[in-house]
Symmetry: C2
Subunit: 198 residues, 2 copies
């Protein structure tokens, strides 16, 4: 069976990838299978650029197909920030609590109708001897005025999804995956992989 390396060190993203790619005729590997492997710096200015860089680096190092994600939040009132810096917005990589508090602070006084935002997810699939395929999807929402819900991760407790009347952190994983940026991108990735495997 062909192998696909899920090139992320983020356990939450890994779980969403596994949930949405299950049942494909592919052996899904994680980075744990490659102990010495270093991930490259995420220093591109776009989600797609960072995802491609990670997928290509891991594919090159392992010789296998590799899938990487880069995603984040673009807040309209902040001119698209935190954008590609979402995970390290408050300075420390992956400190969700600090990131959320900083976002609330930056939006302090901004009225509800001006708190629109998008979650964006870029997925890159690097295929040895072939090209890198890019997929990007987004989900519209708005930033709440306080943290709501215990599910999800990252900015989920602040991301209010209008149609559901809930934040992403108030949704079950299935509910969130149905509408989220990463859910949309991974479903399209699944279709792409099915075609590539034919």
């Amino acid at each position: 069976m062909r192998k696909l390396v899920l090139a992320t060190g983020n356990r939450n993203k890994l779980q969403e990838m596994k949930d949405l790619l299950q049942g494909l005729p592919l052996e899904l590997l994680t980075l744990e299978a490659y102990p010495g492997l270093n991930m490259p710096a995420e220093d591109r200015t776009t989600f797609a650029g960072n995802a491609a860089k990670k997928a290509e680096s891991v594919s090159l190092a392992t010789g296998e197909m590799a899938l990487a994600d880069d995603s984040g939040l673009a807040v309209d009132a902040l001119g698209g920030r935190p954008g590609v810096h979402s995970a390290r917005y408050a300075g420390e990589e992956g400190n969700y609590e600090a990131n959320n508090l900083l976002l609330l602070k930056e939006l302090n006084g901004v009225p509800t109708e001006a708190r629109s935002a998008s979650f964006i997810c870029a997925i890159a699939v690097a295929v040895p001897g072939d090209q890198t395929y890019l997929i990007e999807a987004s989900c519209p929402g708005r930033i709440t005025e306080s943290l709501r819900g215990k599910g999800g991760f990252g900015y989920d407790p602040l991301f209010f999804f209008e149609e559901a009347g809930k934040t992403f952190a108030e949704m079950s994983p299935e509910e969130k995956n149905r509408v989220s940026h990463r859910g949309k991108a991974l479903r399209r990735t699944r279709i792409l992989l099915e075609r590539l495997l034919k």
Copy 2:
């Protein structure tokens, strides 16, 4: 012969597309072949998102394969701005002179070593009955302290490409296409199209 609609109203981009896609077994059409067709708003927060939106909209309206580009400049000292707003940075869509003057003003006093920037180009190819393929490429450079050169368009007179020791506006079209963000993206697009046409 299969048709490909080049979904841009920008004559400079159109010329670069034609130069780099010539010789493919494809009839290249422009939007002039579809007088009533309206382009959608470029309201996404990413280059890839805008390119996909334009290509899909034109493919849907014409029933043909469509190729669209979204590109721009990300200046590190400005946190990635003007980004997806590059063409309307100073307020008026496509007013290059005003955009360049505003950029110089915003970087006033910023020393040479802190004026790094990237040109980014996302290309989307929407294929009826198939998916939308995304390609993204970037080119590193730095912003000069005054306008240099008469070639190119947009921010080219301010974009200094180290290896050549020139701004993009001081290069011939061939020289620029060899190293530019759009040149790189279009060469990858050409390979993609060759594969799709097989």
